[in-house]
Amino acid sequence: MQNESIRAAGELNPLIPHPVEMVLALVFFAILFLLVKKFIVPAFEQAYSERTAAIEGGLAAAETKQAEADAKLAELEKQLADARHEAARIREEAREQGAAIVAEMREQAQAEATRIVEHGKTQIEAERQQAVTSLRAEVGTLATGLAGRIVGESLDDEERQRRVVDRFLAELEGAS
Protein backbone atom coordinates (compact mmCIF):
# COMPACT_ATOMS: atom_id res chain seq x y z
CA MET A 1 0.00 0.00 0.00
CA GLN A 2 2.63 2.43 1.12
CA ASN A 3 4.90 1.31 -1.68
CA GLU A 4 2.15 1.53 -4.23
CA SER A 5 1.31 5.07 -3.17
CA ILE A 6 4.93 6.17 -3.43
CA ARG A 7 5.25 4.51 -6.80
CA ALA A 8 2.14 6.24 -8.02
CA ALA A 9 3.35 9.61 -6.80
CA GLY A 10 6.65 8.94 -8.52
CA GLU A 11 4.89 8.11 -11.71
CA LEU A 12 2.72 11.19 -11.60
CA ASN A 13 5.01 13.84 -10.23
CA PRO A 14 3.19 17.06 -11.10
CA LEU A 15 6.48 18.97 -10.94
CA ILE A 16 7.85 17.24 -14.00
CA PRO A 17 6.79 19.34 -16.96
CA HIS A 18 5.13 18.15 -20.10
CA PRO A 19 7.53 19.20 -22.87
CA VAL A 20 4.83 19.98 -25.41
CA GLU A 21 3.03 22.17 -22.89
CA MET A 22 6.22 24.12 -22.19
CA VAL A 23 6.77 24.79 -25.85
CA LEU A 24 3.12 25.62 -26.45
CA ALA A 25 3.01 28.03 -23.52
CA LEU A 26 5.97 29.87 -25.03
CA VAL A 27 4.51 29.80 -28.51
CA PHE A 28 1.12 31.14 -27.49
CA PHE A 29 2.68 33.70 -25.22
CA ALA A 30 4.90 34.81 -28.09
CA ILE A 31 1.86 35.19 -30.33
CA LEU A 32 0.04 37.22 -27.69
CA PHE A 33 3.15 39.31 -27.06
CA LEU A 34 3.53 40.15 -30.74
CA LEU A 35 -0.15 41.02 -31.09
CA VAL A 36 -0.02 43.22 -28.00
CA LYS A 37 3.16 44.90 -29.17
CA LYS A 38 1.91 45.48 -32.69
CA PHE A 39 -1.72 46.47 -32.12
CA ILE A 40 -2.68 47.04 -28.51
CA VAL A 41 0.16 49.10 -27.07
CA PRO A 42 0.46 51.53 -30.02
CA ALA A 43 -3.31 52.05 -30.03
CA PHE A 44 -3.51 52.80 -26.33
CA GLU A 45 -0.37 54.91 -26.36
CA GLN A 46 -1.72 56.92 -29.27
CA ALA A 47 -5.00 57.43 -27.45
CA TYR A 48 -3.07 58.49 -24.34
CA SER A 49 -0.82 60.93 -26.15
CA GLU A 50 -3.72 62.37 -28.13
CA ARG A 51 -5.63 62.87 -24.93
CA THR A 52 -2.63 64.40 -23.20
CA ALA A 53 -2.11 66.74 -26.14
CA ALA A 54 -5.78 67.66 -26.18
CA ILE A 55 -5.84 68.34 -22.48
CA GLU A 56 -2.63 70.33 -22.55
CA GLY A 57 -3.81 72.25 -25.60
CA GLY A 58 -7.13 72.91 -23.91
CA LEU A 59 -5.38 74.09 -20.78
CA ALA A 60 -3.11 76.39 -22.75
CA ALA A 61 -6.06 77.79 -24.68
CA ALA A 62 -7.98 78.31 -21.45
CA GLU A 63 -4.98 80.06 -19.92
CA THR A 64 -4.69 82.38 -22.92
CA LYS A 65 -8.41 83.09 -22.77
CA GLN A 66 -8.17 83.76 -19.06
CA ALA A 67 -5.28 86.16 -19.54
CA GLU A 68 -7.16 87.91 -22.31
CA ALA A 69 -10.23 88.22 -20.17
CA ASP A 70 -8.18 89.55 -17.28
CA ALA A 71 -6.57 92.16 -19.50
CA LYS A 72 -9.96 93.13 -20.88
CA LEU A 73 -11.41 93.41 -17.41
CA ALA A 74 -8.51 95.57 -16.21
CA GLU A 75 -8.90 97.79 -19.24
CA LEU A 76 -12.62 98.15 -18.71
CA GLU A 77 -12.15 98.90 -15.05
CA LYS A 78 -9.59 101.52 -15.93
CA GLN A 79 -11.98 103.02 -18.45
CA LEU A 80 -14.75 103.01 -15.91
CA ALA A 81 -12.54 104.74 -13.34
CA ASP A 82 -11.51 107.29 -15.94
CA ALA A 83 -15.12 107.91 -16.84
CA ARG A 84 -16.06 108.32 -13.20
CA HIS A 85 -13.21 110.72 -12.71
CA GLU A 86 -14.20 112.64 -15.77
CA ALA A 87 -17.80 112.83 -14.64
CA ALA A 88 -16.76 114.11 -11.22
CA ARG A 89 -14.55 116.70 -12.85
CA ILE A 90 -17.35 117.84 -15.15
CA ARG A 91 -19.77 118.03 -12.27
CA GLU A 92 -17.37 120.10 -10.26
CA GLU A 93 -16.77 122.36 -13.19
CA ALA A 94 -20.49 122.73 -13.81
CA ARG A 95 -21.06 123.61 -10.19
CA GLU A 96 -18.36 126.23 -10.35
CA GLN A 97 -19.70 127.57 -13.58
CA GLY A 98 -23.21 127.67 -12.19
CA ALA A 99 -22.06 129.51 -9.14
CA ALA A 100 -20.16 131.95 -11.32
CA ILE A 101 -23.18 132.49 -13.54
CA VAL A 102 -25.46 133.08 -10.58
CA ALA A 103 -23.03 135.56 -9.13
CA GLU A 104 -22.70 137.34 -12.44
CA MET A 105 -26.43 137.42 -12.91
CA ARG A 106 -26.92 138.85 -9.46
CA GLU A 107 -24.39 141.48 -10.16
CA GLN A 108 -25.98 142.28 -13.49
CA ALA A 109 -29.45 142.49 -11.95
CA GLN A 110 -28.11 144.70 -9.22
CA ALA A 111 -26.53 146.96 -11.81
CA GLU A 112 -29.70 147.00 -13.87
CA ALA A 113 -31.82 147.80 -10.87
CA THR A 114 -29.50 150.59 -9.90
CA ARG A 115 -29.53 151.83 -13.45
CA ILE A 116 -33.33 151.77 -13.62
CA VAL A 117 -33.63 153.55 -10.32
CA GLU A 118 -31.10 156.14 -11.47
CA HIS A 119 -32.91 156.53 -14.73
CA GLY A 120 -36.27 156.95 -12.96
CA LYS A 121 -34.83 159.49 -10.65
CA THR A 122 -33.30 161.42 -13.52
CA GLN A 123 -36.55 161.30 -15.45
CA ILE A 124 -38.60 162.42 -12.49
CA GLU A 125 -36.15 165.24 -11.91
CA ALA A 126 -36.33 166.23 -15.55
CA GLU A 127 -40.11 166.14 -15.57
CA ARG A 128 -40.24 168.15 -12.42
CA GLN A 129 -37.92 170.67 -13.93
CA GLN A 130 -40.06 170.74 -17.01
CA ALA A 131 -43.21 171.09 -14.92
CA VAL A 132 -41.64 173.81 -12.89
CA THR A 133 -40.54 175.59 -16.03
CA SER A 134 -43.89 175.29 -17.77
CA LEU A 135 -45.72 176.09 -14.54
CA ARG A 136 -43.62 179.11 -14.07
CA ALA A 137 -44.43 180.28 -17.53
CA GLU A 138 -48.07 179.43 -17.20
CA VAL A 139 -48.38 180.96 -13.76
CA GLY A 140 -47.04 184.18 -15.19
CA THR A 141 -49.50 184.07 -18.09
CA LEU A 142 -52.32 183.10 -15.81
CA ALA A 143 -51.44 185.76 -13.36
CA THR A 144 -51.24 188.26 -16.16
CA GLY A 145 -54.54 186.98 -17.61
CA LEU A 146 -56.20 187.09 -14.25
CA ALA A 147 -54.81 190.47 -13.58
CA GLY A 148 -56.03 191.67 -16.96
CA ARG A 149 -59.50 190.32 -16.28
CA ILE A 150 -59.56 191.78 -12.92
CA VAL A 151 -58.41 194.99 -14.28
CA GLY A 152 -60.74 194.70 -17.31
CA GLU A 153 -63.81 194.30 -15.13
CA SER A 154 -64.22 196.90 -12.62
CA LEU A 155 -62.18 196.17 -9.67
CA ASP A 156 -64.21 198.11 -7.27
CA ASP A 157 -67.13 195.84 -7.08
CA GLU A 158 -66.20 193.18 -4.61
CA GLU A 159 -69.01 190.93 -5.82
CA ARG A 160 -67.80 191.18 -9.32
CA GLN A 161 -64.28 190.55 -8.25
CA ARG A 162 -65.34 187.26 -6.73
CA ARG A 163 -67.26 186.32 -9.84
CA VAL A 164 -64.32 187.04 -12.03
CA VAL A 165 -62.04 184.94 -9.91
CA ASP A 166 -64.56 182.10 -9.81
CA ARG A 167 -65.11 182.22 -13.52
CA PHE A 168 -61.42 182.26 -14.10
CA LEU A 169 -60.92 179.31 -11.92
CA ALA A 170 -63.79 177.46 -13.66
CA GLU A 171 -62.26 178.22 -16.99
CA LEU A 172 -59.02 176.98 -15.73
CA GLU A 173 -60.60 173.82 -14.55
CA GLY A 174 -62.43 173.40 -17.81
CA ALA A 175 -59.23 173.97 -19.73
CA SER A 176 -57.28 171.57 -17.75
Binding site: R7, A9, L12, P17, V23, F28, A43
Partner: protein, 278 residues
Protein backbone atom coordinates in the same frame (compact mmCIF):
# COMPACT_ATOMS: atom_id res chain seq x y z
CA UNK B 1 -1.92 5.65 -15.98
CA UNK B 2 -4.01 8.22 -14.19
CA UNK B 3 -6.67 5.64 -13.44
CA UNK B 4 -4.02 3.61 -11.71
CA UNK B 5 -2.87 6.63 -9.74
CA UNK B 6 -6.35 7.57 -8.72
CA UNK B 7 -7.07 4.12 -7.44
CA UNK B 8 -3.76 4.10 -5.59
CA UNK B 9 -5.17 5.46 -2.30
CA UNK B 10 -8.57 3.88 -1.88
CA UNK B 11 -10.45 4.92 1.26
CA UNK B 12 -13.80 3.25 1.78
CA UNK B 13 -14.96 3.61 -1.78
CA UNK B 14 -14.11 7.31 -2.08
CA UNK B 15 -11.30 8.14 -4.47
CA UNK B 16 -9.62 11.33 -3.28
CA UNK B 17 -8.34 13.66 -5.98
CA UNK B 18 -4.65 13.49 -6.73
CA UNK B 19 -2.08 14.72 -9.22
CA UNK B 20 -3.66 12.39 -11.74
CA UNK B 21 -6.67 14.66 -11.98
CA UNK B 22 -4.44 17.27 -13.54
CA UNK B 23 -3.10 14.88 -16.16
CA UNK B 24 -6.03 15.16 -18.52
CA UNK B 25 -6.17 12.81 -21.49
CA UNK B 26 -6.03 14.48 -24.91
CA UNK B 27 -9.26 15.68 -26.44
CA UNK B 28 -11.06 12.83 -28.17
CA UNK B 29 -9.36 10.13 -26.12
CA UNK B 30 -9.92 8.48 -22.79
CA UNK B 31 -7.14 7.76 -20.38
CA UNK B 32 -7.03 4.20 -21.71
CA UNK B 33 -6.97 4.90 -25.44
CA UNK B 34 -4.69 7.95 -25.48
CA UNK B 35 -1.25 7.52 -27.03
CA UNK B 36 1.61 8.16 -24.63
CA UNK B 37 5.33 8.86 -24.62
CA UNK B 38 8.06 8.76 -22.01
CA UNK B 39 9.72 11.93 -20.72
CA UNK B 40 12.01 12.21 -17.68
CA UNK B 41 10.70 8.94 -16.33
CA UNK B 42 7.08 9.99 -16.71
CA UNK B 43 4.53 8.59 -19.05
CA UNK B 44 2.83 11.46 -20.79
CA UNK B 45 -0.14 11.75 -23.08
CA UNK B 46 0.54 12.62 -26.65
CA UNK B 47 -2.10 14.88 -28.14
CA UNK B 48 -4.00 18.10 -27.76
CA UNK B 49 -5.21 18.52 -24.19
CA UNK B 50 -7.63 20.98 -22.63
CA UNK B 51 -4.97 23.28 -21.08
CA UNK B 52 -3.30 23.54 -24.50
CA UNK B 53 -6.57 24.67 -26.04
CA UNK B 54 -7.03 27.07 -23.16
CA UNK B 55 -3.70 28.70 -23.99
CA UNK B 56 -4.93 29.36 -27.51
CA UNK B 57 -8.32 30.50 -26.24
CA UNK B 58 -6.70 32.94 -23.80
CA UNK B 59 -4.73 34.54 -26.65
CA UNK B 60 -7.92 34.97 -28.66
CA UNK B 61 -9.92 36.32 -25.72
CA UNK B 62 -7.25 38.78 -24.59
CA UNK B 63 -6.47 40.04 -28.04
CA UNK B 64 -10.13 40.36 -29.01
CA UNK B 65 -10.94 42.30 -25.87
CA UNK B 66 -8.06 44.72 -26.16
CA UNK B 67 -8.40 45.06 -29.90
CA UNK B 68 -12.02 46.16 -29.64
CA UNK B 69 -11.30 48.28 -26.57
CA UNK B 70 -8.46 50.14 -28.25
CA UNK B 71 -9.86 50.28 -31.78
CA UNK B 72 -11.78 53.55 -31.45
CA UNK B 73 -9.02 55.55 -29.73
CA UNK B 74 -11.68 58.04 -28.72
CA UNK B 75 -10.67 61.17 -26.87
CA UNK B 76 -13.54 60.57 -24.46
CA UNK B 77 -13.59 56.79 -23.97
CA UNK B 78 -16.74 54.68 -24.02
CA UNK B 79 -17.37 51.95 -21.50
CA UNK B 80 -15.37 49.26 -23.31
CA UNK B 81 -12.49 51.56 -24.06
CA UNK B 82 -12.49 52.80 -20.49
CA UNK B 83 -12.28 49.27 -19.10
CA UNK B 84 -9.58 48.41 -21.62
CA UNK B 85 -7.58 51.51 -20.82
CA UNK B 86 -7.94 50.96 -17.10
CA UNK B 87 -6.70 47.38 -17.40
CA UNK B 88 -3.87 48.38 -19.71
CA UNK B 89 -3.00 51.39 -17.58
CA UNK B 90 -2.99 49.27 -14.43
CA UNK B 91 -0.14 47.15 -15.79
CA UNK B 92 1.53 49.95 -17.73
CA UNK B 93 1.66 52.38 -14.83
CA UNK B 94 1.33 50.24 -11.73
CA UNK B 95 3.63 47.40 -12.73
CA UNK B 96 5.73 49.08 -15.41
CA UNK B 97 6.36 52.75 -14.86
CA UNK B 98 6.23 52.81 -11.08
CA UNK B 99 8.73 49.97 -10.73
CA UNK B 100 11.03 50.11 -13.75
CA UNK B 101 11.03 53.91 -13.85
CA UNK B 102 9.70 56.31 -16.45
CA UNK B 103 12.94 56.28 -18.43
CA UNK B 104 13.06 52.61 -19.45
CA UNK B 105 9.65 51.15 -18.82
CA UNK B 106 8.02 51.73 -22.19
CA UNK B 107 9.90 49.00 -24.02
CA UNK B 108 8.80 46.44 -21.43
CA UNK B 109 5.15 47.41 -21.46
CA UNK B 110 4.13 44.98 -24.23
CA UNK B 111 5.86 42.14 -22.41
CA UNK B 112 4.36 43.00 -19.01
CA UNK B 113 0.86 43.58 -20.39
CA UNK B 114 0.87 40.36 -22.40
CA UNK B 115 2.30 38.42 -19.45
CA UNK B 116 -0.16 39.77 -16.89
CA UNK B 117 -3.28 39.13 -18.90
CA UNK B 118 -2.00 35.80 -20.21
CA UNK B 119 -1.57 34.55 -16.65
CA UNK B 120 -4.71 36.24 -15.34
CA UNK B 121 -7.03 34.84 -17.99
CA UNK B 122 -5.48 31.38 -17.87
CA UNK B 123 -5.86 31.37 -14.08
CA UNK B 124 -9.50 32.41 -14.28
CA UNK B 125 -10.15 29.54 -16.65
CA UNK B 126 -10.04 27.55 -13.44
CA UNK B 127 -13.34 29.08 -12.34
CA UNK B 128 -15.17 29.48 -15.63
CA UNK B 129 -17.89 26.84 -15.93
CA UNK B 130 -17.22 24.46 -18.78
CA UNK B 131 -13.48 25.00 -18.64
CA UNK B 132 -12.76 24.82 -14.92
CA UNK B 133 -9.08 24.13 -15.24
CA UNK B 134 -6.39 26.65 -14.32
CA UNK B 135 -3.90 26.35 -17.14
CA UNK B 136 -0.90 27.02 -14.95
CA UNK B 137 -1.65 24.12 -12.69
CA UNK B 138 0.33 22.33 -15.38
CA UNK B 139 3.90 22.86 -14.18
CA UNK B 140 5.40 23.06 -17.66
CA UNK B 141 3.37 26.12 -18.55
CA UNK B 142 4.52 27.97 -15.45
CA UNK B 143 8.14 26.86 -15.99
CA UNK B 144 8.07 28.22 -19.51
CA UNK B 145 6.89 31.70 -18.47
CA UNK B 146 9.28 31.87 -15.53
CA UNK B 147 12.15 30.82 -17.79
CA UNK B 148 11.18 33.51 -20.24
CA UNK B 149 11.16 36.14 -17.52
CA UNK B 150 14.53 34.86 -16.35
CA UNK B 151 15.96 35.19 -19.85
CA UNK B 152 14.43 38.64 -20.26
CA UNK B 153 15.77 40.21 -17.09
CA UNK B 154 19.20 38.67 -17.44
CA UNK B 155 19.46 39.64 -21.09
CA UNK B 156 18.41 43.18 -20.30
CA UNK B 157 21.02 43.42 -17.56
CA UNK B 158 23.81 41.90 -19.66
CA UNK B 159 23.00 44.18 -22.56
CA UNK B 160 23.14 47.23 -20.34
CA UNK B 161 26.11 46.45 -18.08
CA UNK B 162 28.02 43.85 -20.10
CA UNK B 163 28.47 40.28 -18.92
CA UNK B 164 30.98 40.98 -16.15
CA UNK B 165 29.33 44.23 -15.12
CA UNK B 166 25.96 42.57 -14.84
CA UNK B 167 27.22 39.72 -12.70
CA UNK B 168 29.03 42.15 -10.50
CA UNK B 169 25.80 44.11 -10.14
CA UNK B 170 23.79 41.03 -9.28
CA UNK B 171 26.27 39.32 -6.99
CA UNK B 172 28.38 41.96 -5.25
CA UNK B 173 26.33 43.92 -2.72
CA UNK B 174 27.23 47.59 -2.53
CA UNK B 175 29.12 48.82 0.52
CA UNK B 176 30.47 45.39 1.47
CA UNK B 177 34.21 44.85 1.53
CA UNK B 178 36.74 42.20 2.56
CA UNK B 179 36.34 38.51 3.23
CA UNK B 180 32.58 38.80 3.84
CA UNK B 181 32.29 39.07 0.07
CA UNK B 182 33.48 35.50 -0.28
CA UNK B 183 30.42 34.50 1.67
CA UNK B 184 27.97 36.93 0.12
CA UNK B 185 28.83 36.58 -3.56
CA UNK B 186 27.77 32.92 -3.87
CA UNK B 187 24.69 33.65 -1.79
CA UNK B 188 23.68 36.57 -3.97
CA UNK B 189 24.37 34.59 -7.11
CA UNK B 190 22.27 31.76 -5.78
CA UNK B 191 19.39 33.99 -4.78
CA UNK B 192 19.39 36.41 -7.72
CA UNK B 193 20.28 34.13 -10.59
CA UNK B 194 19.33 30.59 -9.65
CA UNK B 195 16.44 30.77 -7.20
CA UNK B 196 14.39 33.54 -8.77
CA UNK B 197 13.02 31.63 -11.76
CA UNK B 198 12.32 28.59 -9.59
CA UNK B 199 10.31 30.52 -7.03
CA UNK B 200 8.58 32.46 -9.78
CA UNK B 201 7.44 29.27 -11.48
CA UNK B 202 6.62 27.28 -8.36
CA UNK B 203 4.64 30.07 -6.74
CA UNK B 204 2.33 30.29 -9.72
CA UNK B 205 2.11 26.57 -10.36
CA UNK B 206 1.66 25.53 -6.73
CA UNK B 207 -1.04 28.10 -6.03
CA UNK B 208 -3.05 27.06 -9.05
CA UNK B 209 -2.47 23.39 -8.42
CA UNK B 210 -3.39 23.52 -4.75
CA UNK B 211 -6.38 25.76 -5.32
CA UNK B 212 -7.79 23.51 -7.98
CA UNK B 213 -7.09 20.42 -5.91
CA UNK B 214 -9.04 21.96 -3.04
CA UNK B 215 -11.97 22.67 -5.33
CA UNK B 216 -11.98 19.12 -6.69
CA UNK B 217 -11.78 17.75 -3.18
CA UNK B 218 -14.75 19.73 -1.89
CA UNK B 219 -16.79 19.04 -5.02
CA UNK B 220 -16.13 15.30 -5.18
CA UNK B 221 -16.20 14.91 -1.42
CA UNK B 222 -19.50 16.74 -1.19
CA UNK B 223 -20.98 14.66 -3.92
CA UNK B 224 -19.78 11.42 -2.34
CA UNK B 225 -21.05 12.34 1.13
CA UNK B 226 -24.39 13.43 -0.23
CA UNK B 227 -25.07 10.55 -2.57
CA UNK B 228 -23.18 7.57 -1.25
CA UNK B 229 -23.51 7.81 2.53
CA UNK B 230 -26.41 7.64 4.92
CA UNK B 231 -27.29 9.03 8.33
CA UNK B 232 -25.98 12.47 9.21
CA UNK B 233 -23.06 12.55 6.83
CA UNK B 234 -25.04 14.02 3.88
CA UNK B 235 -25.22 17.20 5.98
CA UNK B 236 -21.43 17.28 5.83
CA UNK B 237 -21.79 17.00 2.07
CA UNK B 238 -23.84 20.20 2.03
CA UNK B 239 -21.20 21.86 4.17
CA UNK B 240 -18.63 20.63 1.72
CA UNK B 241 -20.44 22.40 -1.10
CA UNK B 242 -20.59 25.57 0.96
CA UNK B 243 -16.85 25.27 1.44
CA UNK B 244 -16.50 24.74 -2.30
CA UNK B 245 -18.17 28.08 -2.93
CA UNK B 246 -16.10 29.86 -0.32
CA UNK B 247 -12.91 28.42 -1.77
CA UNK B 248 -14.09 29.62 -5.19
CA UNK B 249 -14.24 33.15 -3.85
CA UNK B 250 -10.83 32.72 -2.28
CA UNK B 251 -9.50 31.37 -5.57
CA UNK B 252 -10.75 34.46 -7.40
CA UNK B 253 -8.48 36.49 -5.18
CA UNK B 254 -5.55 34.08 -5.43
CA UNK B 255 -5.76 33.89 -9.22
CA UNK B 256 -5.61 37.64 -9.64
CA UNK B 257 -2.96 37.93 -6.96
CA UNK B 258 -0.71 35.31 -8.56
CA UNK B 259 -0.86 37.02 -11.93
CA UNK B 260 -0.07 40.31 -10.22
CA UNK B 261 2.81 38.89 -8.17
CA UNK B 262 4.34 37.13 -11.14
CA UNK B 263 4.41 40.30 -13.22
CA UNK B 264 5.37 42.46 -10.26
CA UNK B 265 8.41 40.29 -9.56
CA UNK B 266 9.36 40.16 -13.22
CA UNK B 267 9.16 43.91 -13.29
CA UNK B 268 11.27 44.22 -10.15
CA UNK B 269 13.89 41.83 -11.56
CA UNK B 270 14.06 43.91 -14.75
CA UNK B 271 14.32 47.05 -12.67
CA UNK B 272 17.12 45.49 -10.61
CA UNK B 273 18.97 44.40 -13.74
CA UNK B 274 18.76 47.92 -15.11
CA UNK B 275 19.82 49.60 -11.88
CA UNK B 276 23.08 51.49 -11.83
CA UNK B 277 23.96 50.69 -8.24
CA UNK B 278 23.09 47.66 -6.24
Amino acid sequence: MSALAMSAIPTEGFTPPGPGDFNLPPVGYTSETAPTFEFLGQTMYLGVTKPMLQLALSVVVIFAFFYYASRKRAMVPGKLQFVGESAYGFVRNGLGRDIIGSHDFMRFVPYLVALFFFILVNNYFGLIPGLQFPTFSRAGMAYALAALSWVVYNAVGIRKHGFAGYFKLQTVPGGVKGPVLALLVPLEFFSNILVRPVTLALRLFANMFAGHMLLILFALGGEYLLLHTSGFTPVAGVLSFVMFMMVCVLEMLVMALQAYVFVLLTSMYISGALADEH
